[in-house]
């Protein structure tokens, strides 16, 4: 940034110091780490590289703490106003002093008043221990940042781009954001560093194992998107924003309708054999505008796919079982993933499309001990509480509580539609026949006769759960040919766009956690 001279030159001199950030050796370090300087990040983020900054002079009199290690700014992304806080890791490793915290709190207050999205560009070592009394325990201390994040949740979109560490208490900034984009190799989150873990509990691990970007995006689920570098992370944040309104009071904007990607028709993709795997991504491609899929938590709990997309230009949130991963069975992590995504979409008026091919929730001691019932309850609760338009499509099987989780008829979807390949039941024919006739099957001695008996009972069961029977009983709202599904969804989402549904009068539900 160039500074035009005015008056005695004092202003220019100070601004140049502020814009320069920390000492040159720390800029060198950034380059080594393939990281950008905070002001270069902002240039890339904002339209035309322009932004309005607050409290540029924060702690300027201290000499070595330009902007007190954080830039807070307002500017435009894709023509819309957004607020940003961005750590400067060349200034005391981006650590937080009293003014750093005050600046962050103020930009949160600005975003709240302007009702615009807030982006957190995080690259910080955490609190400055030397300053703790001024920034840690007080009313407008670091805790207030998290308190504000919770207050702002669901009011405005909150996005975290993690470029470096987010340590200890600071790790709660990403935790309270709607989405966390992490740069592979550089981003990390942890409550205790590897050094602290070695000292306090005797565990020896690398930073990557403890809280690296890849670990969080694949194992812990704290990260939503793994970016190869900072540029990719910034582009992803811009794309993500395009699906959202400015705040909860507005609706997402429409885009031009685009034809779906060319490929096999949906009817060919879904195998008739209920037990054979297929790739749900290929099925999704037949329904959405080409190039619009923005997947969230792609690497985490892949048995459930969650992502934003457009159908004939309209933003939708897709929750789809992936039979190719763990048979599409729902687990503890997939239940959490579904719950968070539904809550995100519902908060910002993004209608939901459920694509069901689910054998149910996983059983066995491992998942029961991990609390699959309460995690499943979270998923069901989020889905059930969502008041945005919801369309449930039974692509193939929807068994047991899987039907419920995927917005089955009892959960007031605006429509529950089946493909001709759909099968809805408490359980599949194999399991059901075993459950009901177990004793009789055991009693048949002739193996041939036994197989015939099982076959006959399975056939009878298939008849009971025939999808046309369910349509005749008005359990499902329609059966649609696979090649008609995209058009059907587009029409229905348009019809439902004026839906007004209010939650029951109460303070809030007691959320299962």
């Amino acid at each position: 940034m160039t500074v035009k001279p005015t008056g005695d030159g004092r202003l220019e001199e100070k601004l140049e110091q502020i814009f320069a950030g920390g000492q040159p050796k720390y800029h060198e370090k950034l380059k080594e780490q393939n990281k950008m300087f905070v002001r270069d990040r902002l240039k890339l983020l904002f339209d035309g590289g322009e932004y309005t900054e607050d409290a540029r002079f924060a702690n300027a009199e201290a000499g070595d703490l330009p902007a007190d290690g954080v830039v807070t700014a307002t500017g435009r992304i894709g023509g819309r106003t957004v607020c940003v806080m961005a750590n400067d890791s060349t200034v005391k490793a981006g650590s937080w002093g009293a003014r750093t915290v005050e600046k962050i709190i103020r930009i949160q207050e600005t975003a709240e008043q302007l009702r615009v999205p807030l982006l957190y560009l995080v690259d910080s070592a955490g609190a400055r221990i030397t300053d703790q009394l001024d920034m840690f325990p007080n009313r407008r201390g670091a805790g207030r940042i998290f308190h504000n994040q919770v207050r702002l949740s669901g009011v405005i979109p909150q996005i975290c781009l993690l470029f470096g560490p987010s340590a200890a208490g600071g790790a709660y900034i990403p935790a309270f954001c709607d989405i966390v984009i992490m740069v592979d190799g550089n981003a990390s989150m942890y409550l205790g560093s590897p050094r602290m873990a070695a000292e306090v509990i005797g565990e020896k691990v690398t930073l990557e194992e403890m809280g690296g970007a890849r670990m969080h995006c694949t194992v812990s689920g704290c990260g939503d998107l793994l970016a190869a570098d900072e540029k990719e992370a910034i582009e992803a944040a811009k794309r993500y924003l395009g699906y959202f309104p400015q705040n909860f009071g507005e609706k997402p904007s429409m885009a031009e309708s685009v034809e779906p990607k060319e490929g096999r028709p949906l009817g060919e993709i879904v195998p008739q054999n209920q037990n054979a795997p297929f790739d749900m991504y290929e099925a999704i491609d037949t329904l959405i505008d080409e190039g619009t899929f923005f997947e969230i938590k792609k690497l985490f709990a892949p048995e459930l796919i969650t992502g934003l997309a457009r159908i004939e230009g309209r933003t939708v949130g897709i929750i789809a079982n992936q039979p190719k991963a763990k048979g599409g069975v729902l687990f503890v992590d997939s239940a959490d993933k579904g719950a968070k995504f539904i809550s995100l979409c519902d908060a910002f008026s993004i209608p939901l499309l459920f694509l069901a091919d689910v054998p149910g929730f996983m059983i066995g001691t491992k998942v029961e001990r991990a609390g699959i019932i309460r995690h499943g309850a979270k998923f069901l609760s989020a889905m059930s509480s969502a008041t945005v338009p919801k369309i449930s499509v039974v692509v193939r099987k929807a068994y047991g509580a899987g039907l419920y989780a995927m917005a089955g008829p009892a959960f007031e979807p605006d429509a529950c539609i089946a493909l001709p390949s759909a099968q809805i039941a408490v359980m599949g024919p194999e399991a059901a026949v075993n459950a009901v006739y177990s004793n009789r099957i055991q009693a048949i001695e002739d193996p041939k006769e036994r197989i015939e008996f099982i076959k006959e009972k399975r056939r009878e069961y298939q008849e009971q759960i025939d999808i046309y029977k369910l349509a005749s009983e008005m359990i499902i709202d329609d059966i649609v040919a696979p090649d008609q599904l995209r058009g059907e969804l587009a029409r229905r989402f348009e019809i439902y766009s004026t839906k007004e549904k209010t939650a029951p009068l109460r303070k809030h539900p007691v959320n299962p956690v």
Binding site: N275, A276, P277, P323, K324, A325, K326, G327, G328, V329, F331, P359, G360, M362, I363, G364, K366, M427, G428, E430, A431
Partner: protein, 70 residues
């Protein structure tokens, strides 16, 4: 990580590789039967199979080692 672990609990339905085979990343090396579904377990990376630790009909839990690579 020279091991491939089971992604979920289930019974081994088919074993599609033997020791000495070269497998490609993403190749299904065994199929599990779990929750009445056939669930392929894919190699996370390519390599030469050193030892297959499971047989058809074995119960495996999530995280159990299915095979090792050289």
């Amino acid at each position: 990580m020279n091991e491939l672990k089971s992604t979920m609990a289930g019974t081994v339905f088919t074993v599609d590789v033997t020791a000495g085979d070269e497998v490609a990343q993403g190749q299904a090396v065994i199929v599990l039967e779990s929750m009445k579904m056939e669930i392929p377990v894919e190699a996370e990376k390519g390599g030469k199979v050193k030892e297959v630790r499971v047989d058809v009909g074995d119960f495996v839990n999530e995280g159990d080692v299915i095979l090792t690579f050289e």
